[in-house]
């Protein structure tokens, strides 16, 4: 598995652990999570767990169910935060 697949797999694991109503499969990464049983309370728990698992803080503008309502959207946001963080670390090293 490459880095993106690893991140996606971890997101799926976290979402499924918090969404008791349905197990979300890899083929469903672009489907709206609210349609797959995620409610506002699940959403809060998912965000808290994602931040803890990846050691990051999701910026204010993304903390909305509509902004992170698919696995793919979550993946893209987390990758972009990790990339910014990696690039800052690189600059510090230089």
């Amino acid at each position: 598995m490459n880095k993106t697949e690893n991140i996606q797999s971890k997101i799926l694991e976290i979402v499924n652990a918090n969404n008791k109503n349905n197990e979300i499969m890899l083929e469903q990464v672009d489907m709206e999570l609210s349609g797959l049983g995620m409610d506002s309370i699940d959403f809060i728990r998912i965000i808290v767990d994602l931040e803890e698992a990846f050691g990051l803080e999701i910026p204010d503008e993304y903390l909305l169910m509509t902004e992170m309502n698919t696995i793919t959207k979550m993946l893209n946001i987390i990758i972009s935060i990790l990339e910014v963080s990696d690039s800052k670390n690189e600059q510090i090293k230089v």
């Binding site: 506002s40 309370i41 809060i44 965000i47 808290v48 999701i58 503008e61 169910m65 509509t66």
Partner: protein, 303 residues
């Protein structure tokens, strides 16, 4: 006794705007002081008709952290109702479930001054198209309140903000369960805002902007109930123009989203006069509703 309370509130209001003045002068991004005295001036052409213990400022979500820094630099700090430290989980709940963040307060010689930063005119779980706050704040008007020059919403935008705010208050199961959130004064504000700003909030203008923001059923909902309390031919025209099937469907329901939406088992008069709307809905709450109310109580009320 009443005179004493009025004087104390007036002193608090003066103090609030005195403390707000340097904060606003340092905010370079778009903002509007909403509700409270700003709305009182628009609705009634005079201050202090609406009682408020805090000042609400509407900003764009992306500018939150910059404006929070301005508040901190001016001696304000977060009033965390749920724990002594600023809790990340609380922040996530405020940002995803609410339209504002935890209040900022500043202790002065005689008062606590509280500022609420609002970053949206919709409720947190709203899933349809949101309104771009930069656009919404693009035509603010200037007004002077207790010696402070502040930017506020023009009457038309103030009406949109007020309608969505009232719809949220009348439909949130959390608010219905924790306070009297259907009050006569809410409709009085809507009525006088319309009546005293008839040209700025003409039927054409209100309809056009409501259509653009895709909120016609919510506008109908609030105007319909305002019309039940204020018999006015002008208002009747608005109610008729905004009538849609979707709006009609909302009238006798509560709940901010499809999964929470239920039919009221009592009429509007009973809801309006009830001291405890919780008593009217408690037997219909699901376990999920109760869990959500419990979480919100902890975060927003510190219970």
């Amino acid at each position: 006794m009443m005179e004493h309370i009025k004087k104390d509130i007036a002193l608090l209001n003066i103090e609030q705007y005195m403390q707000l003045r340097p904060v606003l002068s340092q905010i370079i991004s778009p903002y509007a002081v909403i509700k409270g005295e700003a709305l009182s001036l628009l609705c009634y052409n005079k201050k202090s008709v609406r009682r408020s213990q805090d000042i609400d400022v509407l900003i764009e979500r992306n500018n939150l952290s910059i404006i929070e820094k301005v508040l901190i630099n001016n001696g304000f700090e977060v009033l965390s109702k749920s724990s002594k430290t600023i809790n990340r989980e609380n922040r996530i709940i405020y940002l995803s479930q609410s339209h504002q963040i935890e209040p900022y307060i500043k202790e002065t010689k005689n008062h606590y001054v509280q500022i609420d930063l609002n970053f949206d005119i919709f409720w947190g779980e709203y899933t349809s198209k949101r309104v771009d706050m930069n656009e919404f704040l693009s035509d603010t008007i200037e007004m002077e309140i207790y010696g402070a020059k502040v930017k506020s919403l023009p009457p038309l935008k103030a009406m949109i903000q007020l309608i969505l705010h009232h719809f949220k208050d009348m439909n949130s199961i959390y608010l219905l369960s924790t306070r009297k959130s259907i009050k006569f004064d809410m409709f009085k504000d809507v009525y006088y805002l319309l009546k005293n700003n008839y040209e700025a909030i003409s039927l054409d203008k209100l309809y056009t902007i409501s259509e653009k923001y895709e909120i016609i059923p919510y506008v109908y909902y609030i105007l319909y109930y305002t019309g039940m309390l204020f018999d006015d031919d002008l208002l009747k025209k608005y109610v008729t123009a905004f009538q849609t099937h979707e709006g009609e469907e909302l009238l006798n329901c509560y709940g901010l989203n499809e999964s929470e939406r239920r039919k009221w088992k009592c009429d509007f008069k009973t809801r309006l006069e009830s001291e405890s709307t919780y008593d009217l809905i408690k037997e219909f709450l699901t376990d999920k509703d109760k869990e959500k109310i419990e979480i919100n109580r902890k975060v927003f009320l510190g219970e």
